[in-house]
């Protein structure tokens, strides 16, 4: 079954705002050591797209991997054209909003992937506490199922970023 909703993981942001001490470094959305994993036929509100869950550790449930895309996902440092860095940013976006974006769009050559329906960006360096190890940040639903054959898997992010938090609604 396809999932239909993108979202941010609330527990991750709760722990950021509570300054919970993490092993492997505090959450910093500008880090290219974070990974992006592909997601297949997940179900809304079920792992790993249950955004209100109290354990936000990335899991490989319904993960898609294949030629050119390793299980566990790829580091953001190598997912742009020519295996260059995506260069993640976290800054003011649309007026009154906080925006997370990648300076360079995702473009990975030589992939053979089946039925990709979305992606999850997670904090790979974080190892503990258990509820925050590999903490998931955001899941983006692509709205349909896509495949590649010995080809380029590319995601061109919106001009308004991967996500925005509107702090002045």
């Amino acid at each position: 079954m396809a999932f239909t909703k993108s979202g941010l993981y609330t527990h991750t942001f709760r722990e950021i705002l509570r300054a919970t001490t993490l092993t492997g470094g505090q959450i910093d959305l500008r880090l290219a050591t974070y990974k992006i994993a592909l997601l297949g036929a997940a179900t809304d509100a079920s792992s790993p797209v249950a955004f209100d869950t109290a354990t936000v550790s990335w899991v490989n449930t319904n993960e898609v991997s294949g030629t050119g895309w390793a299980a566990g996902g790829l580091a953001l440092s190598a997912v742009a054209t020519g295996s260059s860095s995506a260069v993640p940013t976290c800054d003011v976006g649309t007026a009154g909003s906080l925006r997370y974006d990648h300076t360079n769009d995702l473009s990975v050559a030589g992939t053979t992937l089946a039925s990709v329906q979305g992606c999850i960006i997670y904090a790979d360096p974080v190892t503990s506490p258990a509820d925050m190890a590999d903490a998931m940040i955001v899941c983006v639903c692509f709205g349909a199922s896509y495949s590649t054959t010995s080809g380029i898997f590319a995601v061109t992010w919106s001009g308004t970023g991967i996500f925005e938090l509107d702090l002045t609604p």
């Binding site: 993108s6 054959t149 080809g151």
Partner: protein, 88 residues
């Protein structure tokens, strides 16, 4: 500029996009071209959320043959979360 699919390296011309329907499948918008080796390529706009480019084993201008390469470029919407200010 001519758009002769029998010539290698003819770029995909989205201005010449047309609707293609294979029996049993939904109609798709396609534009065609050929790669440097003269193999048939086509760009398919499926749903407005992505562009899929296929390359086939067939020589351009002939029967397309089977797909041996497929690229995909996805254009997701921004995930947008707003605070709710009760009573404002």
């Amino acid at each position: 500029m001519s758009h002769d699919l029998t010539q290698p390296g003819t770029p995909i011309d989205v201005e010449k996009m047309r609707t293609l329907q294979v029996k049993g499948s939904a109609p798709r918008r396609v534009a065609e071209g050929s790669d440097a080796d003269g193999r048939f390529k086509k760009t398919v706009v499926d749903d407005g959320n992505a562009i899929i480019t296929e390359r086939t084993t067939g020589k351009a201008g002939t029967a397309p043959g089977v797909s041996d390469r497929q690229d995909v470029e996805i254009f997701p919407k921004t995930v947008h979360q707003s605070m709710s200010l009760n009573g404002s």
